[in-house]
Symmetry: C2
Subunit: 111 residues, 2 copies
DNA sequence: AATCGTTATATTTGTACGAACATAACGCAA
DNA sequence: TTGCGTTATGTTCGTACAAATATAACGATT
């Protein structure tokens, strides 16, 4: 019985995905780097894909999840809003709880 | 707060997927129809894809999940083994429990 | 005004995956 | 022995999605 159980969770609104694992790791990278391009590079994602993901998240969310500025000192940047942080936190706690729950389930049922 | 949380689970063995939602619906269709080609058609899947999925499942599982016969009355067929049934049952109960758990989680945390 | 690093966006190129098609083998039934 | 419906497998073709490339706009700093 070396069977393992895995899961992925995501948050939807109006039948469209708002937040999944990939978007969350991107948002966390933005928080750490203060820049969308640096965040994308740090997680091995193309800038274009990162930008379109963030664009989709901000369109779907009730409030902005990131804010960005163009030009100026350092060329500009992007930061995670407090609302974005709360979303990321909620996602991660629920995700960890889900993993723990599933481990309990698989140990309960023997196959 | 019209945010919904969704999930997909799957069973792995040795870092390879053994069973996910698609494979489980295919296995259930085999149980109902007694034939791989009929099962594939009933769920709108090509025979080749269905066959390769079932092949992968049987290679990875500890014991055979389906058995098949070629030729004879009706041309042959495929059936779900008792072990296959137990795997399907385990997957579905854990999956339902996971959904319920996540609904509780999202109602607990307000975002 | 020239430079720099960034956001923002369009366009082209590549590729992985499924769809579609083709065919062999099999064993019962007529 | 011919036909049938199935399992089993290979091969070709499309297409959606990611990767790569290109370019404009922006604003502080020098």
């Amino acid at each position: 019985m070396e069977y393992k159980i895995k899961s992925r969770i995501w948050i939807e609104t109006e039948n469209h995905i708002l937040l999944g694992e990939g978007r969350v790791t991107l948002l966390k990278a933005i928080e750490e780097t203060g820049s969308l391009s640096k965040a994308a590079k740090s997680i091995g994602m193309s800038y274009k894909k990162a930008w379109s993901l963030i664009d989709a998240v901000n369109r779907r969310a009730e409030k902005p999840v990131t804010t960005s500025s163009i030009g100026g000192k350092g060329g500009g940047g992007a930061i995670l809003t407090p609302y974005g942080k709360s979303l990321v936190d909620a996602f991660e706690t629920i995700n960890k709880n889900c993993w723990k729950f599933l481990d309990e389930q698989i140990s309960k049922i023997s196959i």
